[in-house]
Symmetry: C2
Subunit: 348 residues, 2 copies
Amino acid sequence: MPELLDAAIDDELRAFFAEARVRAGAYGAHYAALWESIEQQSTGGKRVRPRLVWSAYRGFGGADRAMATRVALAFELLHTAFLIHDDLIDRDLVRRGEPNVAGRFAARAIAHGADERASTVWGETAAVLAGDLALSRAHRELAMLPVARECRESLLDILDRAVFISAAGELSDVVSSLRGTTPALESVLATLEQKTAVYSFEAPLAAGAVLAGAGDEAVAALCRFGRLVGVAFQITDDVLGVFGDPAVTGKSASADLREGKRTALIAHAATTPSWPAIAARLGDPSLDEDEADRLREELRRCGALDAALALASEHVTLARYELDAADLPAPLRAELGEFAQRATERVR
Amino acid sequence: MPELLDAAIDDELRAFFAEARVRAGAYGAHYAALWESIEQQSTGGKRVRPRLVWSAYRGFGGADRAMATRVALAFELLHTAFLIHDDLIDRDLVRRGEPNVAGRFAARAIAHGADERASTVWGETAAVLAGDLALSRAHRELAMLPVARECRESLLDILDRAVFISAAGELSDVVSSLRGTTPALESVLATLEQKTAVYSFEAPLAAGAVLAGAGDEAVAALCRFGRLVGVAFQITDDVLGVFGDPAVTGKSASADLREGKRTALIAHAATTPSWPAIAARLGDPSLDEDEADRLREELRRCGALDAALALASEHVTLARYELDAADLPAPLRAELGEFAQRATERVR
């Protein structure tokens, strides 16, 4: 069933971008290329958000696949917008091993004879605009949804909350990472929840449920579940970012160490006697593979790895409690329970 | 009447931002400060867009001031979002003589002990997020409007077109300014129309008219009028940017010359024998006031100033033709005719 949904989302995205490219063509080749780069950025993901929309929608008896696909598309485009603007903030030119929007446009500038400074400006401009366009389309997709006003307004409230809280999380992530203080676990977890869990897990689940006509209490339970499971996924992703197999995760296992990314793993390490030794090397952009290996060993030995995994498991357990305590259709409870389990199973 | 509307918009903006700041406070002082900086950015403008919404709405018999104010607010927030992201693209830290969102956050970072690199990142992050939040709110304001579905969807179509075309204009502006080629008048005018005239003139007029229930033909005429008058205002603004009194325009009369901004004025100069002499000094960041004066003299002597003013007047004339040819209520035609006249009167 998820495969069928993936195909429906892919079809919907393809149709949307085909139309946008034609429309953009009237404003020149660069603008058409910008839309192509947004499409590029929106493919290759794991479609986590569309699947959650669909699970919740179907779980509450929803049967209009086309309608669910449009809601799913809105959250996928929101995700695309956030990825593009997140990369802009981080000045990254690569995402999932491929040039991102800014990377593509910087290369396009060079191909058009621009110098390096100009190519940076092309890249940044493209990233600002591409994010704005994807974000606008996410709003439009829900605003134009042909459902009853009350339902549409609830969906718009969910989107509003997701945008509002994600921005708060992004800001506090950037601010705390630049302040150079030792990361506290509490603030790391709050940032994970705000920056990712709300828009990627809570909101799609709530939207699917609302679209299917679920009651307020059930929706609220799904929201709590979504936040907890979202944090569990993020903690695990961060563990995989350091200890995972690059062939599976698609990213270098040393990049987060070189960047000094503030994760639950690192926040726990900061509470151990090993911290001075870890802190001395963490965030050094010139870290070589041997040094990264020693850092990994240190993170393992001081108990940070186990603590982070335990924390992720705890979040999964709490998420499952929410499912059990709520009045949900049994198949939905089972499906989401399995989904939660997958958050931590990936590291075994 | 415009003063009354300004007060209503100010009240609406104040109420909106007061609520947002309280809501943001739950996510920390930095996030509340981000919302404050968005509010700051949204004040001090000339409220051109709200006034156009109101003129068109009232002109077609609209009487629900609260409803018109919400639509006006949407376009004012769209404008705020575009200003913030435009400054981000230009790496400007100042707007209307005051620190902008990025400028404020860069200063905030320094006050919190950040170094220069970190303060740049704080500033850029704040600008990305502030623009996203204002843009999202513009969409939401129309999406939640309690009017008939058909009317709301027409308003959303107007917003969609405004966002789509503004992004095209911004991209082509950046791309052409970095390519170092001589600006062609045609492409300068197309960029003015796309980047500014559509979202600032056409869209607010169309939205006010649609909200009041105006017919398709009248709305289409207002759209054509808006694009023409918008281009007239922009040509004149660019002339004032070089020949205006800084005490009136609020910006240095040499900044555009130092930046080498591609305007109708410059595009005309590029067709004259004076161009090599002008091009040699234009866009030199170290241009002093005497050199800027000589450049201004050259632009006057080669006929570029007169040509730009004539072009602006032509656009006003064409805009007024649109008003005369359309089936519009007489008071609206008179009001918009006077408004169009003001585009060029400012340079006399």
